[in-house]
Symmetry: D3
Subunit: 244 residues, 6 copies
C-alpha cells in the first residue's frame, strides 16, 4: 500500500538555491507562462513568515477516521505512515501532508516537527492544523499550515499512504516535485520544469526590482509595468552596470 | 502505485440480501450502537430513489488535475485507474470514487455507467458529478452522486489509484467494505461488522414497522417509541402471530 | 429550563385561513413593507410542494451533542424536549425545530411525523434532515426540511428546550408566531402583524393575478408592473365586475 | 452607465439550431479542446429539464442593496435595468443576470418571465432565486436558476447595468455570447468560437451515440472509449450506412 | 463601457478630517441610526492596523477570467481598467476593487501600490488578495485586503470597468462614497450622509471615551452604558470642564 | 425564560490552578481518552495569545435579530441578557456567548470587556466578533473570538437567554463547565470530569516535555513517541531526579 519512493530525477545543481531566492508570486507567474494555472497552495500560511524554504516533496496521505482504524494505539506502530514518513525523511526534503483541508485537527506538533528538524528536513507543509503553534513559531523551522488546532489528528483522520501523489490545498503534489515557500505561502513546482523556472525566475525578480525602483521614483505605469522596449533596454543597461 | 485488491474476507451467504432490505437509517443506527458515528455519505443522492443497492466496494482515487497530467489523452491508456477500475469491476461490486467533493466536474456518464451495468456491477457511488444525468436516471442502475455536471473530470481531476482506502463524502471507504444504498443515500458498513449489522438490522426494521402501525392508530410516544417492556412484549406476540 | 408556553395572543378568526391562501413571496413582500427584511427560511424545502400550511409555532431547541448527554437512552425520557414537544403539540400548531442548519443528521422520521399528524399538528419545519424521506413525502403532511439524512440526531445534537425563541434557517421564530408554507418554502410572520399581513396579502395576490393576466395578453411592464394609476383603476373595475 | 448593446457579430445561419441539439457535456468538451476550461455555469439548474435553449446573451448586473438605493419604488422606473432589459429583450435572446450567487432572493417570478415569453425571448439564466417556482415550472419556458426563493430582490440587490460583461455562476458572460441549455444546465459559448463548436459538436454527439450502442452490446472500454482507429472506421461505416 | 467619473458632490471642508478620527464601530453605529445596516466590509483586513484612512472611492470591476480575454498581454494596454484606474487616481482618493471575494488571486502588489502612493492616493481596498504582502506591510500605506496570495489576477479575473457602482465584500460602493478605515477594517459611507456622520460621530467617540473611563473606575452598566439622563449630564459637565 | 443558574458542583481545590497550566492539546487528548471527541472550540482565537485562562462557564444565548426585537433601545434594559450576564458575572467565571458563528457582528467591545475585568471575570469566549479589537488586545484580559468586527450585534442578533446550555463554535457548553484557554484556543471540559482531567493532564505535560527533550537530542520516534516501557522508565527516573 506504501510503495518505496521512485528514484528522483536529477535537478541542476543550483536549482534549489536559485528557487529559494525567488518569491512565490514570481514562481507562479513563471509557471503560468509554462501553462500551469494551479500551483499555489491557497490558505496554507507560514508559521515563520521570514523563512524561505525549498526542497523535494515527500508525501503522506490521510483519509477520514473510523472508530476501528483510528486511535492513539496506531501511533505506536513504526509503520504508521505519518510516523514512518517523518522518521525516514531525507535531508533537504519537504514533507507534504494531504490533510483534506481540515483545519480543526492537528496533524503535527512540537515533538514531530523537532524530529523533522533533527533529521535535516527542509520544511513541513500541510492543509491541516498544527498544535503547539506558538512554540513551533519559535523553532525557526519552515512550517506551512492552515492554523492552530488542539484536537489530535486521530479524531478526524487516519494516515494510509506515503509517497503517492496527493492533493494539498487543492494543488497536486507528486513526490519529488519542488516545494518552495516564502512569507506569502507555498508553490509546488512540477519536477520536470523546476530547472527552467529557476533559470528564468531570478531574471524576473531582477526586472521587477528595477521596475519597482523606477515606479517609486515616479515613472508612470504605461511603458514601465509591463515594460516596453525602452524600459527593457534601460534594465539591461542597469544590469550591466550593476554587474560590472 | 495501484496494488491488486486484497482477497476479500468471507461474508455470511445471506448478508448482502439482508442488507439490501434494510433502510440506511436503520443501518446507521445499528452502526452507531457498534460505536461507528460516521458511516452515512452525506450529500450523495440517488439518481433512482426507488432502487436498493448492496455490494462490496472497489475504489478509485482522484487528485487535483495539473496541466502536465490531465487531458483527454490519458483516457486512452487502459491502465488509467478510472477506466481500468470500470473495465475490471467484478459482478456484484460497487465502484466508489473519491472525487474530493467536487460537484462541478463529471466523473462518469452514460457510456461508462453502461459498461458498469454490462459488467454486472451492483452500483456506482461518487462524491462528484454525473454527466448525461437525465439519461442515466432512466437506466435503472443504482448511481449515487452530488448532482449533474457537464465539465469533463480531466479539467479538475486526474485518477491515480485503484483499490486503496479513500474518503468519499467525508466517510472512510476501504476496498471490500459493504456499500448499501436506498432512497435516502448510501451507508458504508465496515467489512468486519457487516454480518452482525445484517443480523440485527432486519429485526429493527420489523420493530419499527410495528411501532409505526401503533402510532398511526393513536399510541402515545412514551412507552411506544422507544418501546418499553410492554410494547416489546406486544411486538413479540405480533411477530409470532405474523409468522404462524 | 423548559417553561410552559405563554398564552398566545388572539388572532382574527379568519387570519389563518387567509394566510393559508397567500403565497410566501406575497407574504415576504407585505412583511418588507412593514419593515421586516428577514422572514423567509432559506433552504428549507417542502417534502410535499403542493401542500399549503398555516399555524402557530411551537419550538424545540437543539445544541451540539456531547458523549455524556446524547445517546439513544435519552429518547426514552418523556421529558426529552424533542419527544415532549411532539407528544404535547396542540391541534393546528406547527412544530419548528432549531437544528442549527445541520443537514447531515435526521431530527424526525416516519414515526414521529405520524404522531404529529395524529395529534392534529398543522406541520413540521426544521433546518435539519429528515429520515424515511420518501415515505414521509407520501404522508401528505406539510414537512419542510433541508433534505434526507439517515444519521440519527443524537450523533450530532441534543434537545434542551421547548417553546423558547429560536433561530431556524437564520430566521427568528418566537413561540406563537405564525408559520406559513407553500411550494416555495416557509415564512415566519411575527404574531403582532399577522392580522395586518392577512388583510393586505390577499389583495396583493388578487392584484398580481390581474397583472399576470394583462402581461400574458401583451401589456408592457411600464405602467403595468408595478401598476400605475390607470392599471390600478382597471384592477378595481375588474374586481367589481368579478364580485358582482 | 448602461450603454446600448454593441451590434452583434454574425453567426452561421444554422449555428443556433445545431447548438440546440448538442448536449452541454459535449459543448464543454469541444470548448475544452479549444482551450476554454470554465464555461459551464455550475449550480444553475433547469426549471424544465426537458427543454433545450439556445440564444444570444443579453445581460443585467446586480450589486448589493443599500437602503438609499433599493426599495419597491425603483421598480416603477422604466429605466431600472432589470425591468428595462426585460422590456427590450430581442426575440431569440437569452437574458442572463449576475445575481452574485445569492440563492436567498428572487430576481424574477411569473409576471416578469411571462413578459420575457411574450417578447419572444429564448430563455432566462441567473445565479439567483426564482419566486412562483412551481407555476414557472409549468410555463414550458427555459429558466435556469439556483432554486426557489420568496424574498424580493430589492432586499439583497439593486440592478445597475445592462449589457455589460458579467460573471454568472463564476463564468464570464459577454453580451452576444451564445447561451445553450439542456437538462444538465447551461454553457456559455464565446461568440467567436460558436460556429466552430456547432460544426464539431454534432459529430461528437453522433460518435458518442455510436459508442454507447457498442458498449451496451458488450464492447470493452479499451479501443472503444475513447475510440481507436478501428472503432473510428466502424463509426464512419455506420454513419455512411445510416445516411445512405 | 468605462464612463468618465461623475463630478463629485461637495463635502464640508472638515468632513474627511473628522471621519479619519472616528472609529469604524462608531461609524457603523451612526449609519445604523440613519437606517443603513450593511456598510462594514467584512473580512477585509488592514495590512497596517495602526493606519487610519479616509477618502473618496474610485472603483474597478473584475469579472471571471476567460482564456480569450485574460492573460499577461492585456496588462500592457494603458486602457486596461486596473492599470488605468491606478494611473489616473486623484490625490486623496481610495481605490476600491470588486474582486468577487476571491482570496486566492492577487489583484495588486508592491509595484502597483507604489504607483498609488506616488500618485497621492489615500488607500486601496479590495475583496481579493495582495502579493508581496510582507513588503507592502512595510510601506505604511493603507491597504485593506483578504490576505496574501501569489497567483496573478489574470488567472482568475479580468478587469472590465472603472468608476461604476460595485459590490466589495458584500457592501455597495458607489464612486464618490467615503471610504474610512482603521485597525478594525473599512466602512463605506454613502456620500449623501457623510457630513452628518462626521458631525455626530466625533461626539459619540467622546461619549464612549467618557463611559469607558467610568466603567474602568467601577461604574455598573445600568445607567452608564447606554447612558441615562444622569450620566449624560455628567458627560456634558466633563466636556465643558475639558474644553474650558 | 432565564432561570437562575443551578448551584455548581464542587471542584477539587487545585483543579482550576492545575488546568490553567495544562495546554489545550493535552486537555483534548485527555478528554478523548475519556470518550469526548468534540471539546475544542475551533476558529475561536485568542486576542492575547500569551495569556492562560481557566474558569467556570456562564452563558448567553443570541438568536437572529428581527426588526421588532433588536435595536439600540433594548440595551438600556438591565434585564437584557447580554448586559445582565456581564453585570452579574461572578469572580473567576468565564462568560461564553453563543453568537451562532457570525463573524461579521461585534458582540462585545472595550466598555463591556472592561466591566467584565472590573467584576473579576476570568475571561470571555464567543463565536462572534469583537469591536475595538486593537485596544482590547492591550487589556491583558483573556478574550477568545472569531476576529474583529465593527457592526453592532443588534444588526444581526438579539440576546434571549442566560445560563442555559449553548453551542459555541459547534461545541456544547453547559453552565458550570470548565473553560480553559491558551495560545491555541479554548477547550470546554464537562464539569463532571474536570477533576480527573486536571489530575492526569499535568502528568501528560511532563511526559511530553521529557519526550520533546529526548527528540531534540536525536532520539528516534519509535519507542520514544509514543513512549515504550523503556522510555517510560527513563521518564520516571527523570521525574524522581527532578523532584528530589
Amino acid at each position: 500500500m506504501t510503495p518505496a519512493p521512485a528514484p528522483l530525477p536529477t535537478l541542476a545543481p543550483d536549482t534549489l538555491d536559485r528557487l529559494r531566492r525567488i518569491s512565490t508570486p514570481t514562481l507562479t507567474t513563471q509557471l503560468f507562462k509554462l501553462g500551469f494555472r494551479n500551483t499555489f497552495l491557497h490558505g496554507v500560511r507560514p508559521l515563520c513568515p521570514d523563512r524561505r524554504m525549498a526542497g523535494l516533496a515527500a508525501t503522506v496521505r490521510f483519509v477520514p477516521a473510523r472508530e476501528d482504524r483510528a486511535g492513539y494505539e496506531v501511533l505506536a506502530d513504526p509503520q504508521y505512515p505519518q510516523r514512518h514518513a517523518i522518521e525516514h525523511i531525507a535531508p533537504g526534503q519537504v514533507l507534504v501532508m494531504d490533510c483534506r483541508g481540515v483545519a480543526s485537527a492537528a496533524n503535527a506538533g512540537d515533538i514531530l516537527i523537532s524530529r523533522l528538524k533533527v533529521r535535516g528536513a527542509a520544511g513541513l507543509v500541510l492543509d491541516g492544523g498544527i498544535r503547539d503553534y506558538v512554540s513551533v513559531q519559535a523553532f525557526g523551522f519552515p512550517v506551512y499550515a492552515l492554523g492552530p488546532a488542539a484536537t489530535a489528528h486521530v479524531v478526524r483522520h487516519v494516515a494510509v499512504d506515503e509517497n503517492v501523489p496527493i492533493g494539498c490545498a487543492e494543488v497536486l503534489v507528486v513526490p519529488g516535485d519542488v516545494m518552495v515557500g516564502d512569507g506569502e505561502g507555498v508553490v509546488c513546482i512540477p519536477r520536470a520544469v523546476a530547472d527552467a523556472v529557476a533559470a528564468h525566475g531570478l531574471d524576473q525578480e531582477d526586472l521587477e526590482a528595477f521596475i519597482l525602483e523606477k515606479v517609486r521614483k515616479g515613472a508612470p505605469l504605461p511603458g514601465t509595468y509591463p515594460p516596453n522596449e525602452k524600459t527593457l533596454a534601460e534594465y539591461e543597461a542597469w544590469k550591466r552596470q550593476r554587474n560590472s
